[in-house]
């Protein structure tokens, strides 16, 4: 069990009429691994998660969750060990946070004391007796995390988990995620936020239903081979002017200029810039995630 993948997808497609929402996706996630799915709205992320959960059936392809068909008859048994935090999670507004969590605990056949402990873990103990209708977006999200954690799940699906969270809650989220992975749980999250994605071992980029790239962040950066930008601040530009004129570099304003260089020429460029007289600061800006996604998508299309 330790070596076989927790989430396994092979040639998975979902079609509505003539249009593909997900097309020919292969993905394999090992126990203890965290994979982030990145892509624009409508790229098929949520549909992929719903298929992995067995909530909708794929038009073609094969999915195995913990070695079983997630939409099969035996799915009921292992759903107890699966956590899911849907995008924009909602609860019945008339119930208190404690009642909501206890309701879900009963459905997962988890002791109610566990539910109360989880409420504390996500920092909602003080608001436990307030109605969910009075909760802020971040509090609802934390309650959503708490219900996903019920039953010590071996697989967690987190759909845009940190939207609406402040920095402190975010850190709590990441702590929980790290704890889960140390315990051997598998995480699949979809997100736009760079800080979320940095938590992941691998990143899968989706575009129009296809998985255009999948790998660790440095690996993807190498694959895209995008130049990085170096922004240089000077207190006195006279020495630098000569340097930039030779290289044909444009100045942003009187005291700043920006140049691009390939990833492997980074050190050399920084060294030559730092030797210039009057340089006060050097900013190294790697290509953004959006640049990376766009580039890899473009490459895949070619």
């Amino acid at each position: 069990m330790t070596t076989s993948p927790t989430i396994f997808m092979e040639g998975v497609s979902k079609r509505y009429g003539e249009s593909f929402v997900v097309r020919d996706v292969d993905l394999s996630v090992a126990p203890g691994e965290c994979v982030a799915i990145v892509g624009h709205n409508g790229a098929g992320k949520s549909t992929l998660v719903k298929m992995a959960l067995g909530l909708i059936t794929p038009t073609a392809g094969r999915i195995a969750l913990l070695g079983e068909n997630p939409a099969g008859r035996q799915a009921m048994a292992f759903r107890r060990r699966i956590g899911f935090l849907p995008e924009n999670v909602a609860f019945s507004a008339a119930m208190t946070g404690r009642e909501v969590l206890r309701f879900y605990a009963r459905l997962k056949q988890v002791p109610l004391a566990v539910a109360d402990r989880l409420l504390e873990r996500v920092g909602l103990a003080a608001a436990a007796h307030r109605r969910v209708g009075t909760y802020s977006k971040g509090m609802r999200q934390r309650l959503g995390l708490a219900q996903a954690l019920l039953g010590e799940p071996r697989v967690l699906f987190l759909d845009e988990p940190t939207t609406g969270l402040d920095i402190e809650s975010r850190q709590m989220f990441y702590d929980v995620m790290a704890e889960l992975r140390d315990g051997g749980a598998t995480l699949l999250l979809s997100s736009h936020a760079l800080s979320d994605i940095e938590q992941a071992d691998r990143i899968a980029i989706m575009k129009a239903g296809r998985m255009v790239a999948c790998g660790a962040l440095p690996e993807l950066r190498r694959q895209a081979d995008l130049p990085l930008r170096i922004r240089v601040h000077v207190v006195d530009g006279t020495a630098a002017r000569e340097f930039t004129a030779r290289r044909g570099v444009q100045w942003l304003d009187d005291l700043r200029f920006e140049m691009t260089c390939a990833d492997d020429g980074k050190i050399e460029t920084i060294r030559s810039v730092s030797l210039l007289e009057g340089v006060s600061d050097i900013e190294v800006m790697p290509p953004t995630l959006v640049d990376l996604c766009d580039e890899l998508t473009r490459e895949a299309a070619e």
Partner: protein, 276 residues
């Protein structure tokens, strides 16, 4: 089994929180009390017990009110959860869709039962205090009326689920619920009456007419309570009809139970097919 009870429990709690249950009880008790005291005034002349009169007037009230309350509770059950975004999460839990539906059914039916028993019971009690003794016969028909009211409610809860499982929009569900209420409670009878008048007994036999009555749960309820009893049917204006009807009480109850089971099974089928 546990999962069904959990879902039912949440529906009941939701009903209590939203003052749904309270509203239904107050509405039914208020109307029932009004009707029974207004209706009990002239009874001395006819020689019917006040409780019998009350059974007649409350039966008429049930036919309009209970389906309405049942549909209000049930039409939003699935489409509303889908709309609010709570359904997707629930479906990822270890329980099947028929368990969700059946749990909701039990919960909503409990609310309806409590509202009917408390509401009508209050009217019955008030009458008992006002008029003194009742014979066992009248008490029996009163109890049967309350029981069949709950059964009629169950029919419309099941119909509401069928609507709720089928449509995509909450507004559509509400519109269809009102439509079903209008057709089954009002229009079907009028259409049937019109048909009989136009036909003048030439093609529609008494047997065919009987079967036509079974196609409307409200009519089955009417036959059960108003035509089934010799004493009540006399002043319910149903005596003529009672002579024509050949169905026994067991048949009528079975027909009403089928009106619960079939829409509920259909709703479960549609729900299990639908993608969230």
């Amino acid at each position: 089994m546990n999962a069904i009870a959990t879902i039912a429990g949440r529906e009941i709690r939701d009903g209590l929180r939203n003052r749904w249950a309270l509203g239904a009880v107050l509405l039914m008790a208020g109307l029932a009390l009004t009707l029974s005291f207004l209706g009990s005034a002239p009874t001395g002349v006819v020689g019917a017990s006040p409780l019998e009169v009350t059974v007649v007037s409350l039966s008429s009230l049930t036919i309009f009110l209970v389906p309405l309350i049942a549909l209000l509770l049930s039409h939003d059950a699935i489409v509303g959860e889908r709309d609010r975004g709570t359904l997707l999460l629930l479906l990822s839990y270890p329980l099947s869709r028929w368990q969700i539906l059946f749990g909701k059914f039990l919960g909503h039916l409990s609310i309806l039962t409590v509202a009917t028993v408390l509401g009508y019971g209050a009217a019955g009690m008030a009458l008992a205090f006002a008029a003194g003794e009742f014979d066992a016969d009248s008490l029996g028909s009163f109890a049967r009326m309350v029981g069949s009211s709950v059964l009629l409610g169950a029919v419309f809860v099941a119909l509401g689920y069928l609507i709720s499982a089928t449509v995509r929009e909450r507004a559509t569900a509400a519109g269809l619920a009102i439509g079903i209420w209008l057709v089954l409670v009002l229009l079907y009878d009028m259409a049937l009456l019109g048909l009989l008048v136009a036909d003048q007994g030439r093609t529609i036999s008494a047997a065919a007419f009987n079967w036509l009555l079974l196609l409307d749960p409200a009519d089955i309820f009417r036959l059960l309570n108003l035509a089934g009893l010799s004493k009540t049917s006399l002043f319910a204006g149903m005596a003529g009809l009672a002579e024509q009807v050949q169905f026994g009480r067991a048949t009528l109850l079975t027909a009403l139970a089928a009106w619960v089971a079939v829409p509920l099974a259909l709703a479960a089928f549609v729900f299990s097919r639908k993608e969230p």
